[in-house]
Symmetry: C2
Subunit: 331 residues, 2 copies
């Protein structure tokens, strides 16, 4: 049999296990032109929360009663498609199923000689590429500038900060525990950190951590942290709105201070960033990240959870900040 | 004697006449290298409200007890500077004084053969250039797109919309009276209009007026109109945050729905625009606008108030929307 995980109902607020349904189906067979894939590593990411809402976004919402999906590294266990061989590994947006078939569209082969397979879900995968392209397309970092990163201990933030260091910037990271802020400085080489949970006044905390102001803010969290960052942006500052995890579980439209006067005063740019808008740039971004990894210029952390059945809990744990770096489930 | 107008105190909320002091001083004399200027046309603009606050912005705040200043067309009535001749007219940021001296720095000569002098405060001046460069630098309008403009009957908005038509876009304008919305369509050739004062639900009103969604929003007002526009922006939409007149007289930090999730969902760009950031582009912008004016592709309206003593009232009237197009005081 084949285990599968379906969306049982759309979560209200924070997702819970009761929003997921564990089910089984017959193991599928690969038809002519198809592959049979066995999931190996499953990526769980905060943006999936958005797909659980029934609303138009950059990506189709999940349907109730159907399997969820995310970035998955899978092994080709059977191939009736001449482009793929049995024993190869592929990366793609795949369903939360132990086994599934595919016609090969949208799959990329991954080379386990070049990097550990899991890295293709993290620093060489969508999260690393998100960090790289967000900075490249919107941040346009210049040497000597100050880069502020929220969610800095996370999969995207930790890479974004390290790229900032490679580019010759002063990099300050925001995270929610002292253990995380220590890690940001020690393992990822950030110049300074802010613990947003113990800081009484984030606006002042950022001002003190960034005495020359903030030129680029890589935002993964939104909400009050964004407000505080905006108050510290320099003239011509750029905000990469990559994520807003602080708002994902809100049930009402969140409100906050209006931004327009601040944007006008300092000619600030804010732009929503979705890595899928830049698919044609994935290759060069991945190559650059692989080079930096090889040269030991980029470190990364993973939290690896074992067992197919634990995918939903691993996802839920993201909202408690239980992960260190990229959260991955090994099936 | 020489009449002058000083900032008496910083307004709380909407400015009133009691915030201004009418005074007199001796008429100044031009020293070696200086000019004596006589104010002819004085521009009053919403952004001056920002300079009345004691806070850092893109331009220095006015000082209490000192003369205010704005864009002024003045006649050279005496010249000890070989770059300027008596009888010439200049445009510059000058003080609210009938007569004043200048060393010529920051003054541009204006050619009354090319266009009426007043046009250099409007369509060929900062307001026209603001419309042009905001669209050029941030809006990056493409033929066939939908441009939404707020403050569309005003000095900046009316030119922005006409440029949109020249570029082959569908242009919808927002204004606050039926007389204004009629004017936008009849005189300025907009494709459609919305009266925000009589529309019950601006989000729906914009949706109906822009069935293909909004690609570029030229925002002069901020606040709830901006919220409604953001809800209607297409993927990769661009918001030019040029002004926020609806918030200028607020005494507390205004709040509203948070924008970050909306920006992320549709990869929307919002950027604060201040024309003074692009001084090197003023010449080409003015030339292009002059060509369009000559070819009758751009119309404009002015509200001309007479008398030096009426400058403050003309400024105050901007916040009641009493102007039709550019508000100018003839001295």
């Amino acid at each position: 049999m084949n285990k599968i995980i379906l969306l049982k109902n759309r979560p209200t607020g924070k997702p819970t296990l009761s929003d997921f349904e564990f089910s089984e189906e017959e193991r599928p067979k690969a038809k002519e032109g198809e592959l049979l894939l066995k999931a190996k590593y499953v990526s769980v990411d905060p943006y999936l929360r958005g797909r659980m809402r029934d609303e138009k976004s950059y990506i189709e919402p999940f349907k109730v009663g159907e399997p969820l999906e995310s970035g998955i590294i899978a092994e080709v266990v059977e191939s009736n498609n001449r482009n793929f061989k049995r024993g190869e590994f592929v990366n793609g947006t795949l369903k939360w199923k132990q086994f599934q078939t595919s016609n090969g569209n949208g799959l990329n082969k991954v080379d386990r000689e070049k990097a550990p397979l899991k890295a293709y879900l993290g620093v060489l995968g969508l999260t690393g590429i998100t960090a790289y392209l967000g900075l490249d397309k919107i941040g346009k970092l210049k040497k000597g500038e100050t880069l502020l990163v929220s969610g800095a201990a996370g999969a995207v933030g930790s890479v974004a900060g390290q790229i900032g260091k490679i580019k010759g910037c002063t990099v300050i990271g925001i995270a929610g525990t002292d253990e995380k802020t220590d890690r940001i400085q020690e393992k990822f080489g950030f110049d300074g950190t802010i613990n947003y949970k113990t800081s009484k006044d984030m606006k002042t905390a950022i001002k003190e951590a960034c005495p020359n102001g903030v030129d680029v803010y890589y935002d993964n969290v939104g909400g009050e942290t964004l407000d505080a960052a905006l108050a510290n942006m320099n003239k011509f500052g750029r905000v990469i709105n990559c994520g807003a995890i602080s708002l994902y579980n809100e049930t009402k439209t969140p409100t906050g201070p209006r931004v327009e006067s601040t944007l006008i005063k300092n000619s600030i740019l804010m732009q929503g960033f979705t890595v899928r808008d830049y698919i044609k740039d994935f290759g060069p971004a991945q190559n650059q990240l692989a080079k930096w990894m090889e040269a030991d210029k980029i470190s990364y952390l993973e939290t690896v959870v074992e067992g197919f059945d634990n995918i939903p809990q691993a996802f839920i744990d993201l909202f408690e900040g239980k992960n260190k770096g990229k959260m991955i489930v090994i099936v």
